[in-house]
Symmetry: C2
């Protein structure tokens, strides 16, 4: 190894779900929304000439649209290149106490990656046997708390009172509630933002807004928290949001009818699909997200994952302790889920 390699930050990176380059597959592995963005977005003609200029570093048009949508002032909103960017910046900004930060052991698998990247000590707190977060486990001294609600990959949502209990018992640190999936059935912590100045609520356009390809995420919190986060962002990259993200993002927010309609379709399909697979011997926790976390009474998850892949249906399998017999399956269109259901019926029958 060369001398210059001694001082490299060596990390084990997060492995994102596969983005296959072939067509004719049913892609249920990365929790995208099958319906595509609002048709209003398609009608926007971007002025390409303007691409020669730097975008607005504050992305004010987008920030204002989000603020307006949530009925908060714009100084409570931070935007980033997907919620991953928002969360990465948040870890860097808020978790510098040297004490362990806390998050569930079964959760979004990026949290420990960010902690490792920034050398933040952390403790993965076990969820119970039903994959539920135990709120009392977050009451002790710590360097910060982060958890998704609904949680992923479990799909389980906790009520607002549960979230408030954790925030209330951690007022000396920053608490981040990652609400990537909240639009599909969770209860948002946004009403707590004015009550607790240490609470940051993070959202994304990649799931309910069908815009994973654009990379837009945001956070809502008290203006002091947002200012600290913005300062770090401006110390990292002045212009994170490009012009298409700002322009199309604003238009997505504007079309609330389409948003509600497509979210409702996903929820309907989820509930129908869940009831169907339960008849086949599958079980899953109640889902408040756009995916199901499913396990079969006799067929190993890994086997289902591999056979589905052969049938050109891609779902997510995590080869990790406690969840290695589960699949995380994104809710696609009704037609896609019918195909997957046919596949599962045949698999169970042949087993």
């Amino acid at each position: 190894m060369s001398a210059w390699e001694d001082n490299i930050r060596k990390v084990v990176p997060y492995v994102p779900g596969e983005q296959p380059k072939v067509d004719n597959i049913i892609k249920l592995n990365t929790n995208e929304n099958p319906y595509g963005p609002s048709p209003r977005v398609e009608k926007i003609a971007m002025d390409m000439e303007k691409l020669k200029l730097y975008p607005d570093p504050a992305a004010s048009a987008l920030v204002d649209a989000i603020a307006n949508y949530h009925e908060v002032s714009s100084d409570k909103v931070f935007v980033g290149v997907g919620s991953d960017d928002v969360l990465a910046m948040s870890f860097l900004t808020f978790f510098n106490s040297g004490k362990e930060i806390l998050f569930p052991d079964i959760t979004y698998s990026f949290y420990d990656v960010w902690a490792e990247l920034y050398k933040i000590p952390y403790k993965a707190v076990p969820v119970d046997d039903d994959f539920r977060i135990i709120k009392e486990d977050y009451h002790g001294e710590n360097g910060g708390v982060i958890f998704p609600n609904p949680n992923a990959p479990t799909s389980i949502a906790e009520p607002l009172s549960f979230v408030e209990d954790i925030v209330k018992n951690n007022q000396d640190v920053v608490v981040i509630v990652d609400e990537a999936y909240v639009d599909f059935g969770g209860e948002t912590a946004l009403p707590l933002v004015d009550k607790y100045e240490n609470l940051l609520v993070v959202r994304t356009f990649s799931k309910s807004r069908s815009m994973a390809g654009l990379r837009i995420g945001y956070a809502i919190g008290n203006p002091k928290l947002i200012k600290y986060l913005s300062d770090v962002k401006y110390s990292f990259n002045s212009y994170t949001m490009n012009m298409p993200s700002i322009i199309y993002g604003v238009e997505s927010i504007a079309d609330d009818d389409y948003f509600k309609e497509t979210v409702a379709k996903v929820v309907d399909t989820r509930e129908w699909f869940k009831s169907e697979i339960e008849k086949l011997g599958f079980a899953c926790p109640p889902s408040s997200a756009n995916f199901l976390f499913m396990t079969h009474e006799s067929i190993p998850a890994k086997e289902i994952f591999e056979k589905a892949r052969e049938a050109k249906i891609i779902v997510r399998y995590f080869n990790k302790p406690r969840i290695d017999n589960y699949l995380r399956v994104t809710i696609g269109t009704r037609k896609e889920m019918e195909s997957f259901l046919s596949f599962l019926k045949k698999l169970v029958k042949d087993n």
Copy 2:
């Protein structure tokens, strides 16, 4: 101050050049290219439906296009959200020795911001009285080296032999050459990449490619270096490049005739404008960039900056030691520069 605020990473952020929201101004303050992106970009119809999917995390289409353009293999290319993102990731990845990294005192004002953000010790090495980098000052022990070539805001380029001397004398650390402006007259260090595995060359689409609004930057280096950088990137955000960046970026690279033509126009305008302002008592170092670093023999730069602003012409003024009597003026269209020249002629006459 609340207890949670104790563990915030508090930084003084970089202040980007103003992006004014009014029209009818001549904007010469952020080194954009006045000609707009290739007309081929305007003809691309993006399939908006696809925005529902995550982009390719490796941005392979764009990486391959860049690799092909520079005739290197794709494993030597890293892409990011503007060269700022590439550089921010590079600081985090490569500068972990605990020793001081070195860069010129008069240079891109983001370098010390990144160093502060990541708590990397650094030394700003004085350039000489003609604003030239003294290469011998970079020969001692250090934690890494970074400098732009051409340098900014000075516009001065150094020859390849000069760059090689610095790289050669620093083979135990990573050396980054920031070539944001190289297309306007600098000599690239790319031929050295195969010779020195510790050299990273960074480029951007924001200047010569007229795509500041899209946010695309890239780095070229040996595959080991690129792998370390990619691992950190994947530990930060899996999907940094959104679909429009990938699609339009590829198209920009494809239209090399337009690229060369617009770069040549900027260079022509620069040389004409420089000769004109010299007649008015201005001096500037020889420029190899798309801007001039100009000072007047009697009128203070700050005064020119303020009066230009009143006349709706925005240039960049840095209120910093050594350069507080200089303006950094982006080369706009011939017409824009004629307007600015008329303004300067009147100013000098009235003085």
